[in-house]
């Protein structure tokens, strides 16, 4: 294979040495102008970082080394992510790396793996994920985009939405309905589609930050070869669900709340209200909530690092961090006073942007399963409440 492979197995390092190596390298190499971007970057913006990681062989920490990944243990993977986040490294167009790659490795044919995996590592293919649909937000399994076999081609019709950075991608992986006669989770398959196929149209959606991070993708009689189906037919739901574990952990990372709290403290100082007793009491409570949240995050991490299965209670992390992030961002707004509505940072230094933090906090209780859905899941699957 032509893909870059690291020359050593970094699992052999102890955690501290591993952390130091990551930190040293990123401090020496990360493009300074890309630190802590206020909005998610498009490919053309983050490409220097993608290329750096690709060349270094660090693009796919979780993939096995035989496929060009770093083959890191979950524990080391988390350390790497912590160090990236600590430095304020931008998130990449990573759906091919973190979602599609592991799925292909587990379910695809050798031919599919040999073709697609190296192209991800080299940055030749940038993938986006086509799961959600306008009528199926929380109820993902009710999706209606259909694929019908016509000779040796799938004919795909339907519409996907919330497709992150579809406007950057040249491929999309889709969940589509291939059997309408069975119960809704059962008739779903997993199909790969090039974005330049006739009938594929992308329409960016502006979000509340006036950013086009999400898109709608329309599929109108799109034809792809039969071999673009991955795994068994009608097993797409099961395959997609099986790969969510690590993603779900990161939705509960203390990063956003921690960053917001540090900005709140800086903002209070800049505004000269840091000694206000009511504000101090609130900040103390946030500091306490954040400290306990970090312990909760660490406890899940430890389970994963020890190879223990982590169940639905991991949804607690997402609820805890997203709602804390929202509380902190609301306090930033409160103390910003009349400047709370400003689009640009109110103090350029330190990028103190209360409205930006406030708006960024909004979707954290919506995407990846709303806070309400997360509570339903815990109630049913962890607390085993009836109904």
């Amino acid at each position: 294979m032509n893909t870059p492979v690291t020359d050593k197995d970094m699992n052999t390092l102890d955690n501290a040495a591993f952390r130091t190596e990551i930190r040293t390298w990123i401090e020496a190499n990360y493009p300074p102008e890309l630190r802590n971007p206020p909005l998610r970057l498009h490919l053309k913006e983050n490409w220097p970082w993608y290329k750096l990681l690709s060349d270094k062989g660090w693009l796919a920490p979780g993939w096995p080394r035989e496929y060009g990944g770093m083959g890191l243990s979950p524990e080391k993977h988390v350390i790497l992510t912590e160090e990236f986040e600590r430095h304020g490294a931008a998130r990449l167009n990573d759906h091919g790396i973190s979602l599609l790659g592991p799925l292909l490795i587990k379910y695809a044919t050798e031919a599919q793996k040999a073709h697609f995996l190296p192209r991800i590592l080299a940055g030749q293919d940038i993938w986006c994920q086509g799961y959600s649909e306008p009528g199926s937000g929380s109820d993902l399994a009710s999706l209606r985009t259909s694929a019908e076999l016509d000779g040796d081609e799938w004919v795909i019709n339907g519409q996907k939405t919330w497709t992150t950075l579809a406007n950057d991608a040249n491929w999309i992986f889709l969940l589509v309905r291939t059997d309408k006669t069975v119960k809704k989770q059962r008739g779903i398959s997993f199909i790969l589609v090039p974005m330049d196929a006739p009938g594929v149209t992308v329409r960016p959606i502006l979000n509340l930050e006036m950013h086009d991070e999400f898109c709608e993708v329309f599929l109108d009689n799109v034809r792809v070869p039969a071999e673009n189906l991955v795994g068994e037919i009608n097993q797409g739901w099961t395959m997609a669900k099986a790969l969510l574990g690590f993603e779900r952990l990161f939705l509960g990372s203390p990063r956003q709340a921690g960053y917001a709290l540090s900005r709140l403290v800086m903002l209070a100082e800049k505004l000269g209200v840091a000694d206000d007793p009511v504000l101090s009491d609130q900040i103390a409570q946030y500091a306490l909530d954040l400290a306990d949240h970090k312990l909760l995050f660490a406890s899940f991490l430890r389970e994963i690092a020890q190879g223990n299965p982590v169940g639905s209670e991991i949804s607690l992390l997402k609820i805890s961090q997203s709602e804390l992030f929202q509380r902190i961002s609301s306090t930033m707004m409160d103390i910003a006073g009349e400047a709370a509505g400003l689009v640009d940072p109110i103090f350029a230094q330190g990028a103190l942007n209360p409205a930006g933090q406030f708006l960024q906090a909004r979707p954290t209780t919506i995407y990846g399963g709303t806070a309400e859905i997360q509570r339903n899941i815990i109630a049913k699957q962890v607390l085993e409440l009836p109904g």
């Binding site: 609301s330 009349e338 400003l342 640009d344």
Partner: protein, 348 residues
């Protein structure tokens, strides 16, 4: 000024102004969306229509050529402005108008000249008038780019009236999320006229009207969300059939109900003659409630809309953005909570 109009008269007036405003603002939210992030962010033609409808002079005493209406009627109008997310800076302009000398009134009442207030100054660069020349920096001036003149509060307490085109006045504008902007005005010896404050209640009125504007924002957000809950389907039924969402909506309804009575109580008390500390307590109670209620309702409205609520194309986001911008306008929650408590105590 017609004092002590009866409750029924006020209710009738309020109903009329509310209906005529709703009719005049029928294309409300779509119009507001279209004007976002333009300069000056609002529509002068529309401003003239508002003036013709008498909205600018609504609170001006009859003996000064106004309609002499009460805060009840004013707040009925402001609610409609909020429901339609009207970007024109009417509340500021009406406040400034209440302070103007007679000679300056006519053009302003007729909508030909827009005078906006600039009430805060930079701590580093206080506003002062020396020998007819204005110095210092005024900050957070909503919709400054659309003004013909500014009524600037001087650091020492009085006011100065200054032409927007005056030499020695420069302006920076920073966009706000509602599509408008806040201006920073730098005065470097610009010619200005001193205006003495003979109407201390004009900013009290503006504060209360801002609360009423936020009530309109909250009401419209609540209604959009209630409709959404009744129509949006997930898992085979309308999401409004889920008990957790139902209870959340009831909490928003309670908050909205408290906001309604809080503003109605304040307008009635003031039109019945409350003055001084009693008046300030009424205004602050309503203003604090308005920020609180609008904030919780707009935030929850976006949450209850789910992913759709996070898109710019959904109208609910426009209400959230307006709420963000207005939270602290004429004083935020904590300041008014404190003022209410200082003026009123626990009310036992």
């Amino acid at each position: 000024m017609t004092l002590n109009t009866s409750i029924s008269e006020r209710e009738e007036n309020s109903r009329m102004i509310s209906e005529s405003a709703a009719a005049a603002l029928a294309d409300g939210v779509a119009r507001a969306r279209g004007l976002r992030f333009s300069s000056p962010g609002f529509d002068r033609a529309q401003w003239s229509e508002f003036a013709e409808l008498g909205w600018l002079s609504l609170r001006l005493p009859e003996d000064r050529g106004g309609l002499g209406m009460g805060v009840s009627e004013y707040c009925a109008l402001a609610q409609q402005l909020g429901r339609a997310l009207v970007p024109e800076p009417l509340i500021g302009a009406i406040g400034a108008l209440g302070m103007l000398p007679d000679a300056a009134l006519t053009e302003v009442v007729e909508g030909r000249r827009i005078v906006l207030p600039a009430l805060s100054c930079s701590a580093d660069s206080p506003t002062e008038l020396r020998a007819g020349k204005l110095y210092g920096t005024a900050v957070h001036v909503p919709m400054a780019a659309g003004a013909d003149a500014f009524l600037v509060r001087l650091d020492a307490g009085d006011y100065a009236l200054i032409d927007a085109s005056a030499d020695g006045l420069t302006m920076d504008c920073a966009n706000t999320h509602d599509g408008g902007h806040l201006g920073t005005l730098h005065f470097d010896g610009a010619a200005a006229e001193q205006v003495s404050n003979d109407n201390p209640d004009t900013w009290e009125d503006a504060t209360l009207a801002t609360a009423a504007y936020l009530q309109g924002v909250a009401e419209a957000s609540y209604e959009l969300t209630l409709d959404f809950l009744k129509t949006r389907q997930q898992f085979g039924k309308p999401i409004g059939s889920y008990q957790a969402l139902q209870h959340r909506m009831v909490d928003l309804y309670l908050e909205l109900s408290l906001l309604r009575v809080s503003i109605a109580g304040a307008t009635a008390a003031i039109d019945d003659g409350a003055t001084g500390a009693a008046r300030r307590a009424e205004v602050s109670r309503a203003r604090a409630r308005a920020s609180r209620a609008a904030d919780v309702i707009c935030r929850q409205a976006v949450q209850l809309h789910g992913g759709i609520g996070y898109t710019d194309e959904a109208d609910i986001g426009l209400f959230l953005r307006k709420n963000m911008t207005l939270q602290a306008s004429f004083g935020g929650q904590s300041m008014h909570r404190r003022r209410f408590y200082n003026e009123k105590g626990v009310g036992q």
